[in-house]
């Protein structure tokens, strides 16, 4: 009788419906690195080692781990169990399901937005703007402005989350920007091509959630203009005036996307007109 090896999981072949779920139990992988992760996920004693009969059930894998279009459930080789690995409360959920309620770190962050929704929404927004405005330059400017407005608000959140201090030079700022990319867009740009005076650098990335699945019209549209806008807005809030522009763009056929950031001046705090 197959039984799930995850220690808090009560799924065995008596509970799980084979016909409905396809093959719900997966044997441990061969790759030693991935196997180790599976063993960690079971929550068992480190000395425990799976035999060829030990399995983990499907409820611990995210939907993306399953190979699509297969009648029998089959995992991709890289799959690692991430869901429902710890027990929080005992809870009778009805006779047919497992009697334990689970949660995982991933389930907890339920405010995390699906990146595909972001991609599609941004695409729809841009195409809507193109429809309403004839002039591509206007769209670029609008996108930059939207980004700017986002940046102005985002910096507050960034400072609160990372509790970072004031940057003393551009290199620190570049690190912070890199961190922000990781935090908000889950992407990893590299910081390169410093100018000799240290006031200009490039952010280079080859994958961006905003620009997936995009077909570009051939009219000078800067699809990702949101990003330089956000950087400009955020840095303006910490008294840094910068200029941001695209040098290369994947969407226009370049190998990578390169965003150039140039320091212009430090902004001084000024009292708004009309307020003493």
């Amino acid at each position: 009788m197959p039984r799930c090896s995850v220690i808090v999981c009560k799924n065995n072949s008596c509970i799980v419906n084979y016909v409905k779920d396809g093959n719900p139990f997966h044997t441990f992988p061969k790759d030693p690195k991935i196997k180790e992760k599976w063993i960690n996920a079971t929550g068992r004693d480190p000395s425990w080692f799976p035999t060829k009969n030990n399995t983990i059930c499907s409820s611990h894998f995210e939907p993306k781990c399953f190979q699509p279009l297969k009648k029998v459930r089959r995992l991709f080789e890289w799959s690692i169990p991430t869901l429902k690995l710890r027990m929080v409360l005992m809870n009778y959920m009805g006779p047919s399901t497992s009697k334990v309620c689970f949660y995982s770190e991933l389930d907890q962050k339920d405010s995390n937005l699906n990146s595909e929704l972001l991609t599609l929404t941004y695409g729809a927004l841009v195409s809507q703007m193109l429809k309403e405005t004839e002039n591509t330059d206007d769209v670029n400017k609008q996108l930059e402005r939207i980004g700017y407005n986002m940046g102005v608000r985002l910096i507050e959140d960034f400072l609160a989350r990372t509790s970072s201090n004031r940057c003393l030079e551009m290199r620190e700022t570049a690190d912070k920007i890199q961190q922000a990319f990781r935090l908000y867009l889950n992407m990893q740009p590299t910081v390169t091509s410093w100018s000799s005076s240290g006031d200009e650098f490039s952010l280079v990335w080859d994958q961006c959630p905003l620009s997936e699945w995009v077909e570009m019209p051939n009219n000078g549209l800067k699809y990702c203009a949101l990003i330089p806008g956000a950087i400009r807005g955020a840095l303006q809030m910490v008294q840094l005036d910068v200029q941001c522009w695209f040098v290369q763009d994947q969407l226009k056929g370049d190998a990578v996307t390169e965003l150039r950031v140039k320091y212009i001046k430090r902004l001084e705090d000024a009292i708004p007109a009309g307020e003493d």
């Binding site: 939907p63 699509p68 599609l120 729809a124 927004l125 405005t133």
Partner: protein
Amino acid sequence: MSSSRSKSSILDKPLSKGKGEVSLALSDIGHDVGTRLLDLYFVRERNSKREIKLLNMLLFVKSTLWKVLFGKEADKLEHANDDERTYYIIEKDALVNKFISVPKDKGSLNCATFNAGIIEAVLTKGGFPAKVTAHWHKGTTYMVKFDDAVIARDKSLDDR
């Protein structure tokens, strides 16, 4: 140049003309998104099999779709007492209404119109033509009104 720009820019234009156009634009954008999501998630979550039953389709929207999009299911799915064509999907805190302060002069603008657009596209393109509107009621309520033909077809499926 600058005056013509501000006139034609999308952000200024609809707002200056009133909330009707903003809602329309939002629902259009939602439509775009919903259309693309439909196939993506049926392939990924449902083994490429579309739903043919009305209730299952609504449950797909309420549970599966909402779960992958927003990380949580919509709170409730209700059937109107007085009209069999009307269903309500209710969500307490809609993500798109977070951090939003509606301008005073546009009191009835609801950003959830965007979600309503998504639902409408998913249902309509999935073969259940419907009109979906968003309302402020118990949080955010999406009112789904199906075409008569959809209800009739669903009944005939039941009879078989």
